[in-house]
Amino acid sequence: MILFEVKNLIKHFGGLAAVDGVSFQVKQGEIFGLIGPNGSGKTTIFNLITSYYQPTSGTVHLKGRNITGLKTHKICKLGVGRTFQVVKPLGRLTVLDNVMAAAFSRVNSKEEARGLALETLKFCELFHRKDVLARSLPIGERKRLEITRAMATRPELLMLDETAAGLNPSELDAAIELIKKIRDKGVTIIIVEHIMKVIMTISNRIHAINYGQTIAEGTPKEVANDPTVIEAYLGDAYAHD
């Protein structure tokens, strides 16, 4: 079943076509990887989906419903959670308060929000840090807080923007475990990632873009062996070896 679909998405910044006709479909329950070299438009696609930018043209569909251009907070309420590449912790609040602020999108009373937040913190293994101010967390845990907060909004679709960047090897393994755990819970995931170890091991399918245009889509193996993808990453000298 198709959970989420992007049709011919285009975004122009002045004369620059940051996203230039990207289309893809995400199936329920899969981990969908989105890759591309720096500046290829991955984060812009995320920002278009969650309405931080309005697309120049093209549409976004969740469960068959056109959600293009809805307000960001409405898209969250419809079940799309996201994290930010440049983490945005609510710095002067504790980790628990961060997650509670997110939980209030599903419940109204403070007790319920607290319950939901604690449950999510346990699930994401950040419970032991719940009383620490978010700004005093190291980068690894900040990234984890981003995921925890997004999970507390009870998403059906979770969009992870480079959540593994800047992590050390053991944190990396933990992050991969967490993402798998989230998928096993039934949450569909779109992941933008540069670290190949992550994206190749956990993605069901990968969509590769360059200069805002689709260059390949398929299983990790297919995409990794695709000459256009290799050319985009390493230059054309490697593409035909």
Partner: protein
């Protein structure tokens, strides 16, 4: 122990006018209580929601004029204004917020500054309604200060308690989230525009009620008094900053300190200079006294610089630090 401090404090303030019959000191505490209300309102929008307002006088003035006009135009008791003053301020806050919350940070602050000036000019120019610079004069309801005192106290307690309730609810969490990161807040399903409106309207309501109280208590208002940028809007910011931005009791402490400092300068250090002048008979001291009492704005400036340097979170926000400093010094003295 710490839990009972506000209650003990409230008790002292409540019995104060029964013990101290001096009208001047009662007047000062009435002003303090009024500033607790205004400061608390400012704290909601600026301290908790992070949308700094330089235009509290707009809401204060509208509240005051609402109370005054109900009396002069409709012949109602000005106390009706207490009910309508807050609502009238919200009527201004609503369209203003709707339009101006598209602006962020310093740009929103500038818009509030403009609102302040626009409201002052409207009150000045719209003579048929407001009487222009002549202002509004009403007969005070009470000769004694005691009724005003307890009304002001009730209002102050109401604002502190209601803000405490709000900050422990979903709204409170949403206000703080917006302050910390508006984009992150949106991604967590928070309608930032709506909740900024809620926050502004709470602030406007409280500030408008304080304005109505001012009208009733002083009996006279004119545009330059109630829409004053530095006597109302800036003072509200100082009450918030000195007491502690984003703390429940910050505006309470800030109100006491700021009213005290204001009086300190206005009266020339409580008549110290005047006394010196008459003692020494020196003309120079008289001149100095005159300048000092007129320089209270400068005094405010220095105070703010000191607070920001030494206690960036205000007296309440940095209370532990403040206490720690004293204790460490005392320990040293003991050692020596």
């Amino acid at each position: 122990m710490k839990k009972y401090v506000p209650l003990i404090f409230l008790f002292i303030v409540a019995i104060f006018p029964l013990v101290v019959h001096n009208a001047y000191y009662q007047h000062l505490i009435i002003l303090v209580l009024m500033w607790v209300v205004i400061g608390s309102g400012w704290n909601v929008i600026a301290g908790y929601t992070g949308q700094v307002s330089f235009g509290d006088a707009a809401f204060f003035g509208v509240g005051a004029y609402a109370a005054g006009l109900l009396t002069t135009k409709l012949g109602l008791s000005a106390w009706w204004g207490m009910a309508f003053g807050g609502v009238a301020a919200m009527l201004i806050a609503f369209p203003f917020g709707w339009i101006c919350f598209r602006l962020r940070g310093a740009y929103f602050a500038l818009a509030t500054l403009a609102l302040n000036e626009v409201m002052r000019h409207i009150a000045t120019i719209w003579e048929p309604l407001t009487g222009g610079m002549v202002g509004i004069l009403i007969m005070p309801s009470f000769v004694s200060k005691i009724p005003y005192y307890y009304i002001a106290l009730a209002l102050a307690v109401f604002s502190v308690i209601s803000i405490q309730v709000v900050m422990h609810s979903k709204w409170g969490y949403y206000f703080l989230s917006i302050r910390e990161d508006q984009d992150a807040a949106e991604s967590l399903g928070i309608d930032t525009h709506f909740y900024k409106m809620v926050s502004l309207n709470i602030a406007a309501f409280l500030t408008g009620m304080a304005g109505s109280l001012f009208m009733n208590y002083m009996g006279f208002i004119d545009p330059s008094v109630v829409f004053s940028l530095h006597d109302i809007s800036i003072m509200a910011i100082l009450v918030g900053i000195v007491g502690g931005v984003g703390t429940i009791y910050g505006p309470v402490v800030g109100a006491f300190v700021m009213v005290a400092v204001h009086e300190f300068f206005r009266t020339g250090f409580f008549g110290l200079f005047k006394g010196l002048a008459s003692l020494t008979g020196s003309h120079a001291v008289t001149v100095v006294a005159k300048y000092v009492s007129e320089a209270h704005v400068l005094g405010f400036g220095i105070l703010v610089v000191l607070v920001i340097l030494l206690l960036p979170n205000g007296i309440v926000g940095d209370w532990d630090k403040l206490v720690g400093r004293f204790f460490r010094q005392r320990k040293k003295e003991v050692k020596d």
